[in-house]
């Protein structure tokens, strides 16, 4: 496996995908714990679809993909959080509506400009060929920001995730922290989308948190486990993709699925023994 890794990393484009993917996987897992526990998983899904739509528009207009998708996805995060908090409109239905609309816009725009070809497939399911030097720089900055904010505000994030009412009543500005998490998630998704694909990126947010929760019972351990698991699964998925010539994004998701099944079984076994 060591030799295989060395061989794989002798390709510069794989190195770039490896760096960006690892950092995105790490950040997505950290933010994912809070999103999953707050029942906001759908936001990740909605954001990735909006990201796809804006990516398509950017390509059609000949603009740099991230310069268009980052601001739009940030705006979408703001809106989606508002929608899911407002119980008067059906939050999940509204998000599904926005998701599929953005996806449809993206597909139509792409079909009208570049034609329906493998490009569309790349956007939907990801490609590791897409990463440029600037993406590597951006993802390093992003990961540094997410890590720093997560560590500095860790206790507040726990309080807001566990009991928003109590956090608010005792003077924590819960809305600010929730918005921060949603906006950072939007950035992570915008950066990671092109490797993982618009259809698959939200699994990086959801899977590691769910797997870690099968086994661990403290918030701190769930966070650490999700982060490590996410990075390991990304690496294994990339390795499998290289070895068996399978699509990278889908391979990473399958690695996460395998981890989830293993962790579920371990959690069950632990409960039976205890």
């Amino acid at each position: 496996m060591f030799d295989l890794t060395r061989e794989m990393l002798s390709y510069p484009f794989i190195v770039r995908a490896f760096v960006v993917g690892t950092l995105v996987a790490l950040c997505a897992a950290l933010l994912g714990v809070s999103l999953v526990l707050k029942r906001y998983s759908m936001i990740g899904d909605g954001l990735s679809h909006v990201g796809f739509g804006t990516l398509a528009v950017a390509v059609a207009l000949g603009l740099a993909p991230l310069s268009v998708s980052v601001p739009v996805v940030l705006l979408a995060a703001f809106l989606l959080l508002r929608i899911s908090e407002n119980s008067r409109i059906k939050g999940d239905a509204a998000i599904a509506l926005i998701s599929s609309s953005a996806l449809a816009v993206g597909v139509v725009v792409l079909a009208m400009t570049v034609g329906m070809n493998t490009d569309v497939c790349n956007y939907l399911f990801g490609t590791i060929l897409a990463m440029k030097k600037s993406d590597v720089t951006l993802s390093i900055c992003l990961a540094a920001a997410v890590l720093a904010l997560f560590v500095l505000f860790y206790n507040k994030i726990f309080a807001v995730t566990f009991d928003e009412g109590f956090a608010k009543a005792t003077g924590t500005r819960a809305g600010v922290y929730k918005m921060l998490i949603a906006l950072l998630t939007a950035l992570v998704i915008a950066v990671g989308m092109r490797i993982m694909g618009a259809m698959l990126i939200s699994s990086l947010v959801i899977f590691p948190a769910l797997s870690a929760m099968r086994v661990f019972k403290s918030f701190g351990r769930v966070v650490v486990c999700a982060a490590i698991l996410s990075v390991v699964c990304f690496y294994l998925g990339l390795l499998a993709s290289y070895t068996y010539n399978t699509p990278a994004g889908a391979s990473v998701v399958l690695a996460n699925l395998a981890a989830f099944l293993v962790f579920s079984a371990a959690g069950q076994a632990r409960r039976l023994i205890a």
Binding site: R39, D163, A167, K168, G171, S218
Partner: protein, 233 residues
């Protein structure tokens, strides 16, 4: 404690309407809570008890009127909310939950110190919950969960405690135990404001009673309330 009673909380014509077209959920509540009071807020379901408490806790902005804290910062309240669905499947240890009560007195960055750990320990020991510190919150019994949340509330404030239906879902023994804890806190000078549909249990321990039916129906001392044999509208 000073001989003269010190005002701690004042509600001025507090009213709430969730939507402009809807009727009032809470109408015209004016009262003062003094230091050391134990105020029980009772009434039927939908009488505006919890809405009233949420306005006092700062979770719902009032449509009219205002909440004024005296000798107390607004965030210096210990709040014991109704359990939310999220918490039923939440991976968190008792220690993690209780420590989060200390955040209101932390600046930035909010990291816990050794002293914070000792404070949390003292409150857990007080309720005989120190042995549970490593346990997962979601695996505790209802009574244990309430004691943990009470310890968290006390970490947030030693002065004013707001309780929203604290005995709901508890078996009679656990409920009695919780009432004993509250009575004990009250005798030590804690100001308590408790919303409950368990009228008998709540009024017996309280010093003052507010009976809500959107607007206040009865507000006065608990003895007077008991003498009237409750209040039925």
């Amino acid at each position: 404690m000073a001989a003269d009673t010190k005002e701690i909380l004042r509600l001025e014509n507090l009213s709430l309407r969730y939507e402009a077209a809807a009727g009032w959920a809470v109408k015209g509540v004016t009262l003062t809570v003094d230091e050391g009071d134990f105020l029980a807020v009772v009434g039927e379901n939908g009488s505006g008890k919890t809405s009233l408490l949420k306005m006092i806790a700062g979770l719902t902005p009032p449509t009219e009127g205002r909440v004024v804290f005296e000798n107390l910062r607004a965030c210096e309240v210990g709040y014991l909310p109704q359990q939310t669905a999220v918490q039923k499947d939440f991976p968190a240890t008792v220690t993690e939950v209780v420590m989060s009560g200390l955040l209101n007195r932390k600046g930035f960055p909010a990291f816990y110190t050794k002293k914070d750990r000792e404070t949390a320990r003292a409150h857990l020991e007080r309720f005989g919950a120190w042995d549970l510190r490593g346990e997962s919150y979601r695996t505790l019994s209802g009574g244990q969960q309430q004691r943990v949340l009470l310890a968290r509330a006390l970490c947030a404030s030693e002065k004013l405690l707001l309780l929203d239906e604290p005995v709901t879902g508890l078996d009679p023994n656990a409920a009695a135990e919780l009432y004993d804890i509250l009575a004990d806190l009250h005798t030590r000078g804690m100001t308590i404001l408790m919303v409950s549909h368990d009228v008998d249990g709540a009024v017996r321990r309280a010093s003052k009673v507010l009976h809500m039916d959107t607007a206040p129906v009865y507000y006065g001392d608990a003895e007077g309330y008991l003498k009237r044999g409750g209040f039925h509208v």
